[in-house]
Symmetry: D2
Subunit: 263 residues, 4 copies
């Protein structure tokens, strides 16, 4: 497999900085460490080393979802790959799933979900800001190309919406407790709800609002820490600096407590 | 959507214990908290509450991948969902990917990968123990049903194998550095390698062996911590006990340093 | 240095369990792993191995403050050594300091403070429960012997108390914000205030109450995690289980904002 | 209590930067945020607010040991207060203790120990570098004034030294396993040994060297994490960045296994 015109690639410089590029014949990529002609990359194996005009080595790869979302243009904070990863597994996003999202951010979670639900899945994402929707759409398109399974809608997830029968509802909004009516209405019995919440006070408020309802079970709240290790010669130790916090994650299942079932 | 005969479901008792059951008309599930007839569940909404003969409430759901792997029969330790989640994202397992696995364990990682690569993907998994392969196969089948994209092979990943052109190679073996020839041969340029490693001494040994080769780039080692929070009344705090360690994760990209490319 | 009659010692059995004993000639210490006569210990070096009647080896030491507080009789939870350690340093408990404590618990923090302030220091500790005061006093006496620098008082730290001119005020009470008038009145300018707080909601409430006042500066809140490592043969890794949470710590300095000073 | 001439004080600017100053009549402290005359501070309460010439508020306090060591001039990395705190408690540094130190660094641990052992204690500290000894001595003197209980010695702790009968031995040297003969010879039975070790590979090597000897028991290795919380309005969460690693700590007790004891 070789790189070809139109591919989205990632270049990694000798210091570990990442740069996204869409391969275009004749185009030149300029950095402080010299320039690289896209034509040096087109036709090379899809995982290679190219030299800049100043003789510095750049790695070139197809970006992973993580590479892409960490390096795509952002208009807001993103949900970090560590949190995306846990959401995908804890909320059990599966091929073919119908997923409702409240709050699109820059599209990082959206991209991961779209990839996971695959061509048979369906994702409906709401946001109150038109510019954020456009931005997220651009980021999604740039990485995944088409958008057949995705519907982006301008609207307020705190208010009633027509969507029903979703397998999963994922929120990244400031006051997720205000969306609980919507969540309840949109989610199938047994469906999984997930919220990304920056502050523990909001977690508290959300969980207490959920507990006042009959329809949520197996409520779980957690945070994810990834600790990178430096392994260089005799120095084998965690890095001195780490990300201490991004957000808290809340999960729950929708349950139907129909008194008729057990008569 | 309602539960039907033949479905695999999970029952959660009032203390939070999980029980897997295959719904069978006429079958009765016995616990210390009374029995439940499968016929109470068949026909109920797919996310419901049933009462045992002693009047205790059990939640009934379709198991998520996480629910299933944490509760399936095990013959060995499993790779925990938190680590599976990070592997899926860091190793960028994508729909249609060809993935080579060394070491099957009880099948937890296998199940997650199979679900992610989908019907167009291909997974080849090696193990030196026939009983482990059979066990893993049983666990996979029980959850995912068919196995079209999966090939389980008895063999030693430390030795040469015929597999080539894989997008991803994932190892869960005691001495992953001994498999590096295999990894190099099986992986496409730009492909991602991942190893699950219990001890930091092995991480050190693996990374040093990788650095002696020219073919690995962007080597990264990390550990994942998930911290659960208790949110009950005024008590909002992390749980007193947590999982302090499961394993370390190592990731890298295969790179081709062909001097011809850049002439 | 050898063990002598009347010494408080700690015995550690082959499984790592700790047992406090006051050495008494003729006394016999019984365990599931056989008995040990105190006379075996009296006269032995102050850090030795003795064999039980069943031939099992027990280590014998003088207990450290940590050994003692973790193994003394308790009537309530204790502040763990990791948190005591950080309080001692962050609250800067120094030889000769005058320290006011609200809430005595089982005396763990009290013992550490008394040892640190030394013979020239003074510690006044309040509690609303007479039984807790008696219990703490017993635990302190048993380890440190005399009590010259300590005054235990039955009373409510939420209410006005006569104490003034303290260098440090340390609280371990359910609603520390209710004690802020007392803290302000008792603390010297530049003095350090510390509170041990189990729940983050209380931390929030305490800090907000402090910020409404003019008299607290450099407010800091934190939690302390100690992660133990297993180093056995090739297994070099954190233990699988760890303490995920004990309590949060809040610190601040008292400051006088007298407009007159800077005219 | 008021500030007086000759006092060492700490000024904290509106952004939280710390500045050590020795109060001198007529002296002026210059910052980007205006100047402050020492005479504004002399005579003010020992915990106050002064205004710079540009009207910015500076807090003024007597530095705690932590404030001082984090802000004193350094020639090398320091052992951070969190690790100092745990060493003081785990190694049970007590008033009157005789403590042997190998490696002085910039004096941070030395200062904490000297304060803890008090006027009846004794600290002997070795270092192979004369400049480090002079630097550490200067830092100690500047904070604690006199040095009656401290003896700084130029010498190699890996080689035999005359010191005997120490209660505690604390190492901060690159290859602590090379000092084990010295540690054994210097430590009393029951004495506590502690080492500060940056890399886990060294921890492994140290512990394995200790286990080959008969004289160490209750060997423990750990790391300390302090996580600060931001509590501002609705934002109640850990800070986004944290210190992920400083060093590992190893502790053990010296034990005498005299066969004669138990005959």
């Amino acid at each position: 497999m070789v790189f070809k015109e139109g591919d989205l690639v990632i270049l990694v410089d000798p210091k570990g900085s990442y740069f996204l590029q869409r391969l275009t014949p004749g185009k030149r990529f300029h950095t402080h460490k010299g320039y690289i002609d896209h034509d040096q990359i087109i036709g090379a194996p899809a995982g290679t080393v190219v030299k800049s005009s100043l003789g510095r080595e750049f790695l070139v790869f197809y970006p992973s979802t993580k590479d892409y979302t960490l390096n795509m243009p952002r208009k807001s904070g993103i949900i970090y790959p560590k949190d995306v990863a846990i959401i995908l597994v804890w909320a059990d996003i599966f091929p073919g799933a119908r997923v409702l999202c409240g709050g699109v951010g820059s599209g990082a979670l959206l991209i991961a979900i779209l990839r996971q639900v695959g061509p048979t899945g369906r994702v409906v994402a709401y946001d109150v800001r038109e510019d954020m929707l456009a931005w997220a759409e651009q980021n999604v398109k740039n990485f995944l190309g088409e958008l057949s399974g995705l519907e982006l809608k301008l609207g307020d997830i705190y208010e009633p919406i027509p969507e029903k029968d979703f397998d999963r509802v994922l929120l990244d909004v400031p006051e997720p407790w205000r969306a609980l009516d919507t969540v309840e209405a949109a989610l199938l019995p047994g469906g999984i709800f997930s919220a990304y919440v920056p502050s523990i006070v909001q977690v508290d408020q959300l969980i207490k609002a959920m507990e006042e309802r009959e329809s949520f079970a197996l409520i779980e709240s957690l945070e994810v820490l990834v600790r990178h290790w430096q392994v260089e010669g005799k120095s084998v130790r965690p890095y001195h600096r780490m990300v201490g916090h991004t957000g808290f994650l809340v999960f729950a299942r929708k349950v139907v407590r129909s008194s008729e079932e057990n008569c």
